[in-house]
């Protein structure tokens, strides 16, 4: 187990290094720079901008800048934002909660709803419900999240003023209910996609399991259907879902970025977009690296959980 984790971690570090290379060079070679935003400051001159760029070290060769960034990262220094000169980790930290809240709530919701749709679809295969669920899931996968968000805002925030159209809480009223009230629409939008994925996988995992001999064995024992379903079928069908959950992390992160943009949700996705707009390189790199770590850890965790849940698997 320890050896397995060790080798996985080594592999992850290699991957992170590749990620950092791609991210860094694409970003720094991209046209535009962090100083452009100051160009319209009254009294700003080209000479002044050049001097600032020099002081920030932006005029050095890229490999040098990369090496400096990397060597700092290795000792835990993620750098400082150009925009508000806060440590990058602190900035990510302050946006992390919002994203995790959104992702967590919607993933939980998607898992519950998706599992049931998937299971029902599998046990009533080819029923009207199954058919509608299948079509629904396909459409769910096809609707652009942001558009669904806009429509949701139009319906439930403009036409029927039931939910706020944006933000995470009302200033001055940061109660649990207030958060929940703000969470409804973005969560709904993000859930749409994940529920579709989740129910599709769950359905096929259930169908797979239902064809298995041990389900027949369980029925032959005379167990009630709900016991067969929960203890035997779902318990096994959940196993591949652990991996699916791990693999969904990048998708959910992407979805969160879009949902955060539409609903002005102060999370990592919007931080990323804002920072990209300002060419705040350290923050953009920070978010990219952080999400890559998140993805890799998620996958690793999924594998470990899988091994815990499935007695057949030993991590070696």
């Amino acid at each position: 187990m320890m050896r397995y984790l060790g080798s996985r971690l080594l592999q992850s570090i290699l991957l992170l290094w590749i990620v950092s290379l791609i991210g860094f060079f694409v970003l720094y070679l991209a046209p535009g720079g962090p100083l452009a935003q100051f160009a319209l400051t009254p009294g700003m001159t080209q000479e002044q901008l050049a001097r600032i760029a020099h002081q920030m070290g932006l005029d050095r060769p890229l490999p040098v800048q990369y090496w400096e960034w990397l060597s700092r990262l290795l000792i835990g220094d993620w750098g400082q934002s150009y925009r508000d000169s806060q440590p990058v980790l602190a900035i990510i930290g302050s946006h992390l909660f919002a994203t995790l809240l959104l992702m967590g709530a919607s993933t939980l919701l998607a898992m519950i709803i998706g599992t049931w749709i998937g299971v029902l679809g599998a046990i009533r295969r080819y029923s009207i419900f199954d058919y509608l669920a299948t079509i629904g899931a396909m459409i769910g996968l096809s609707i652009p999240t942001f558009w669904f968000g806009l429509i949701a805002i139009y319906l439930f925030s403009v036409k029927l003023p039931w939910f706020p159209a944006g933000n995470m809480y009302t200033v001055g009223d940061a109660s649990f209910l207030d958060y929940a009230h703000h969470l409804v629409l973005p969560c709904l939008v993000l859930t749409l996609v994940t529920v579709a994925i989740w129910s599709r996988y769950m359905r096929s995992a259930m169908l797979d399991v239902q064809g298995q001999d041990f389900i027949r064995t369980a029925r032959a024992k005379g167990l009630p259907e709900h016991v067969v379903l929960r203890k035997h079928a779902m318990r096994n069908a959940i196993l591949p879902m652990i991996t699916v959950a791990g693999l969904q992390i990048p998708t959910i992160l992407s979805g969160a970025l879009v949902a955060e943009t539409v609903f002005t949700w102060p999370g990592m996705g919007r931080l990323f977009l804002d920072s990209l707009n300002y060419r705040d390189y350290p923050v953009v790199m920070g978010v990219l690296m952080f999400s890559a770590v998140f993805v890799l850890l998620g996958n690793l965790l999924a594998d470990v959980l899988y091994a815990v849940a499935d007695p057949r698997i030993r991590l070696t």
């Binding site: 041990f214 064995t217 032959a220 167990l223 009630p224």
Partner: protein, 333 residues
């Protein structure tokens, strides 16, 4: 014959395909099974044996995908008319079943002790602890060494033979009156096969249960069965006690099957050549006209066998056959 425990009359199973067409896979099957008796159900893959056994347990998909007709009487109660809850009380309790694939028939994520205990808990209302104790007893009964420790094992930690013993333990958990064994030895090594057969015979002797033994292996039939029922394309084509059937098979198909069995009988005066039956089982959606076996039959008589569907007739008391030309076979024998 003593009073039958299980009596099947006119069993018919029809599947409906997704396209709407109906496939008739089990046709007019009748048989009886008495306590302590072993009935072998023999046939090639696709002949309808497994469907028959699953139909008895009502483990086939429900309507409209599958329709079961006829009567299945367990000590006089018609299982086909029981409610689903009533049927659950029968399954695993009065009729138990073991399957061909011990490797996949056990749930991989639960410990074997738990899988055995589960059945007892449900049917006998035992507590968790008591049920587990019973599971250990059963493991011992089916000849698993160190049963206390083995009860804690997961299926993947056991060999195929062991797993089949576990399956048998599950089946026997509630002292069933009827045990349906669907090719229980097919997936096992030859040496293990013998052990498992031995075990089943032994257990039957101890408990007096009736056994419906499904197999395509006539060698195994000779070892374990009292009576044999040969199935082809969903129909019983020959039915008799073991000895007469082996001695004097009347249906060409049965003869074919016997020919396909390699014999190690060193006392046989002359070794008959090993033969096989050409062709394959017909597609049940498109059965051939006349006798279902006629396209593959070496005794086929054109204009007769491909025109008329033969009835099941009693050639001798206790020996039924479904062949238009059984009399000729009888004479030849």
């Amino acid at each position: 014959m003593t009073q039958p425990i299980l009596s099947v009359r006119g069993l018919n199973v029809r599947f409906r395909g997704r396209g709407g067409g109906e496939v008739h896979v089990v046709r007019d099957v009748d048989f009886e099974l008495a306590a302590g008796q072993t009935l072998a159900l023999v046939g090639e893959s696709g002949s309808g044996k497994s469907v028959t056994s699953l139909a008895l347990m009502r483990l086939l998909p429900g309507e409209p995908r599958c329709r079961i007709g006829g009567r299945v009487l367990l000590e006089g109660r018609d299982l086909l008319y029981l409610t689903e809850a009533g049927m659950r009380g029968v399954r695993g309790n009065e009729i138990a079943m073991i399957f061909q694939e011990p490797m996949t028939s056990l749930n991989p994520v639960h410990r074997v002790g738990e899988q055995i205990a589960e059945s007892v808990r449900f049917h006998k209302g035992l507590g968790r602890r008591d049920a587990l104790d019973r599971a250990v007893e059963l493991l011992e009964l089916v000849g698993i060494p160190d049963p206390l420790r083995r009860a804690q094992a997961f299926p993947h930690e056991m060999s195929g033979g062991m797993r089949q013993r576990v399956m048998i333990a599950i089946a026997l958990a509630c002292d069933p009156k009827v045990l349906i064994a669907d090719e229980p030895t097919t997936a096992l090594d030859v040496t293990i096969q013998a052990q498992v057969l031995e075990l089943l015979r032994d257990l039957q002797a101890r408990t007096g249960m009736a056994m419906l033994f499904i197999t395509h292996n006539l060698g195994v039939v000779a070892e374990i069965a009292d009576r044999v029922m040969v199935m082809y394309a969903g129909r019983i084509v020959e039915q008799a006690a073991v000895d007469p059937l082996f001695a004097k098979p009347l249906m060409p198909y049965t003869r074919g099957l016997l020919g396909a069995v390699p014999r190690l009988d060193i006392f046989a005066k002359e070794k008959p050549p090993l033969t096989s039956i050409p062709g394959a089982v017909p597609d049940p959606a498109h059965p051939p006209k006349g006798c279902a076996f006629n396209p593959r039959c070496t005794h086929r008589q054109g204009g007769l066998c491909d025109q008329r569907t033969p009835p099941l007739e009693a050639a001798q008391p206790g020996h039924d056959v479904r062949c238009l030309r059984w009399r000729e076979a009888m004479e030849a024998a």
